[in-house]
Amino acid sequence: MKSIRPIIFLGKRALVLALTVVVAVYVTIYVANMGGYVDEIVKGEALLRVSQEVRANPANRALNETQVRNLIEQLYQNELKRLGFDQPFIVRSFNYLRDALSLELGRSLFISSDSGSRSVRVIIMERLPNTVLLFTTTQLILFFLGLFTGLFLSRRYGSRIDKIMTLLTPMSSLPGWFYGLFLILIFASVLRVLPYGGMVDVPPPTDRFEYALSVLRHMILPILSWLTAYFFISTYTRRTFFLIFSSEDYVEVAKAKGLPEPLIRRRYILRPTLPPIITDLSLTLLASWTGAIITETVFNWPGVGSLFYVASVTFDTPVLVGLVVIYAYLLAITVFVLELVYAILDPRVRTGVMAG
């Protein structure tokens, strides 16, 4: 009985997560189509395209106006059928859902990749490495910097450096892109030592090493802007977190027993705080690949964030849905894996006490 419980628990969780993903993707499809409004845009575009083609075609010169109209109407209906628009939106939305869930991301409406492809998969895969390079790096730096500084400060609680760091925490109320503006102003506009934005020099260096160097140079300002913005708050959060955990009763007991300081830190403070920290890290890293719309716009970084932006303003539904469905899957999988790991690690969860 005892061994089945966690399996049932995890099975239930998997089911619920799967259901959540399905509903979330459907809601996204519905919202991204603006409840069917995007259809009107696409239909309008199709009609425009068809009528331009017909009128520009010299072969149709001999036709009179009514014949031309009929021809346009006929071709337009064909085009709608090709797009699958002869079915009502509700029916199609479920087709979209099926395609999205099976990761058949389809073709974009307007956006094309740099290589000229209209395949959503190609478009996303083209942007993904750029964003991972910039934002996953940034988040990793932020995470470890915050973790170690926080731990350091929690041990020197009340010292001058601790007070200064706490005093600087309100700096984090300004977002990263905002510091980005100033860093651009200082380092690009006034000092002219770093580029305004973009990912690589124009024209891109042919030499591999120089190319990497140029990309690195373009990464400095975005990373620096995020560090300025979020370093203090992440340090402060970790510091408070460690402080709360180090005032737990069992830590006091360990101290009273006279255990050595490093042992207390490792076994009594770090170990119980590990699960929330790991959850935090994995979710932040996961979220980092969706990029940051505004930072990427400010720095003109060709990543997923700016793809999100362009897709939203042009109503390119397939791209939006594609991005969301990948994110939803990854999120669900991460959450499930985390629960699985905790179920294995945490004896309370293992016996199902916490299942609720």
Binding site: V23, L185, F315, L320
Partner: protein
């Protein structure tokens, strides 16, 4: 609310409260003195409304920090005669009249004007007046600007006239016997010292003293008349400068203040209240209600917030208050719900709730009278802290170009500046002043929020 006083005990929060009070005072002043319709009209008006303003002028206070005094704008109008503007008319025959306009003014600034324009208006039936326009420098140099007939509403862009510029450069070349190595701008020739120094853009000097603009008009009808307005555009204007459309940035910044405060505070408060209520209901009823609400929260976790917001505002070209509503709706089931739920789950087991239940209090009564009031104070710090985020969200939307198209806001000013390439052209004031306002608003919220956190969560004060 009784615990506001301790807030003043922290130095940092005192600064925050101070900044916030100033911002609120500015908001009240703005709302009372410039009606919103007026501000929106001024901001969206074409160049016609702002014709007398210089383009891309710095804020006037830069003169305080610099030894070279930058010029302000000088406007002289014959419709508003004064000691500087004299207009005399003489009859010179049966149908002919001569009108003389003399505009005298002192120019003591250290830098040249950004532009010089002459706006001419005339009234006549068939034959338009003929004008001869001359410019006299303090050293007595005469410069012929133009001889022309004018229409009823005419303009003479003195500093932008290429024919005049070529002519004046030739005069300088003849006078100094040397060809200027660059095309000397008309403003420099009109107001500069005409010696060797004018041949190098870095050594040109302003000739200080009294200038004269003479207009002699030949009017061919007894009732004909003309009026002239000379505008010597400066390089500084107001407390915030002007933008590329000559608009006074100050107006947008003033109106941005109440908009930013209201947007930030109302978004933060309503979202926190809604999230808390959802958390409370979820924790109190448990079972299927809880289950459903938790799932909805998870769905919202997947839904991309900013893209949806961008789509809706692109589609409907909504104004800022509709954007606010969408922000609230999209955030109602945000991650905050989970935190509040955890808090309420703990609370619902406390003895006083059990007591309330034992005397037969209903669900609604317990929720509204016992559970929510207990959590209300603990949420205030995070609400104040998140207000800063929403102030920036509005700015971010404006910078992406999808904010409210009518209301002037700080973000919109920054967007205009970006769009006009202010950072590339070195027009830093245009970005710096709205940014400073944004930053100080958000930092004041943060300072107050952190102090409140210490007051309301004493556990933090201990450690």
């Amino acid at each position: 609310m009784m615990r506001v006083k301790p807030l003043l005990r922290y130095k940092s929060s005192l600064v925050g409260v101070g900044i916030l009070c100033i911002l609120i005072a500015v908001s009240i002043y703005t709302v009372l003195t410039i009606p919103f319709e007026e501000a929106a009209r001024l901001w969206r008006a074409g160049e016609q409304t702002w014709l007398d303003n210089p383009r891309n002028a710095l804020p006037a206070w830069v003169n305080l920090f610099s030894s070279t005094k930058l010029p302000s704008t000088l406007v002289f109008d014959t419709q508003k005669p004064g000691p500087e503007v004299i207009k005399v008319s003489v009859r010179a025959g049966e149908n002919i009249k001569i009108s003389r306009v003399e505009i005298r003014f002192r120019y003591d600034y250290d830098d040249f004007p950004s532009e010089v324009n002459l706006f001419l208006k005339s009234s006549y039936n068939t034959s338009p007046p003929q004008l001869t326009i001359n410019w006299v420098k303090p050293d007595g140099t005469h410069i012929d600007l133009k001889k022309t007939t004018i229409s009823r509403d005419d303009r003479f862009y003195i500093s932008a006239d290429t024919a005049l510029s070529t002519e004046l450069n030739k005069i300088i070349e003849r006078k100094l016997n040397r060809q200027p190595p660059y095309i000397i701008p008309t403003t420099t020739i009109l107001l500069g010292v005409e010696d060797e120094s004018i041949l190098n853009p870095s050594t040109v000097k302003v000739l200080k003293g009294e200038y004269k603009l003479l207009i002699e008009g030949l009017l061919f009808e007894p009732n004909a008349d003309f009026d002239a307005k000379l505008v010597v555009y400066g390089k500084v204007y107001g407390w915030a400068g002007t933008d590329h459309l000559r608009r006074d940035i100050g107006i947008a910044l003033l109106w941005g203040t109440p908009v930013a405060l209201l947007f930030g505070v109302s978004a933060a408060f309503s979202i926190a209240l809604i999230q808390m209520s959802i958390g409370a209901v979820s924790a109190w009823f448990r079972g299927p209600v809880d289950m459903a609400m938790q799932r909805v929260t998870e769905i919202f976790l997947v839904l991309p917030f900013l893209p949806v917001l961008i789509m809706v505002s692109t589609l409907y070209k909504v104004n800022i208050w509709v954007i606010l509503l969408i922000v609230i709706l999209l955030s109602s089931f945000g991650p905050g719900v989970k935190n509040y739920r955890a808090l309420f789950l703990q609370l619902r087991e406390s003895p006083y709730i059990e007591a309330a239940r034992s005397y037969g209090a209903g669900d609604f009564r317990i929720l509204v009278l016992h559970l929510i009031p207990r959590v209300l104070p603990t949420m205030i710090p995070s609400v104040v802290l998140s207000a800063a985020d929403f102030v920036f969200l509005e700015a971010a939307l404006a910078i992406l170009g999808i904010g409210d198209p009518i209301t002037p806001t700080w973000g919109k000013v920054i967007e205009d500046a970006f769009y006009a390439g202010a950072l590339f052209k070195g027009q830093y004031y245009w970005v710096l002043i709205p940014s400073a306002l944004l930053a100080s608003t958000s930092i004041s919220f943060a300072l107050i929020g952190f102090a409140l956190d210490k007051i309301f969560n004493p556990r933090l004060k201990e450690i």
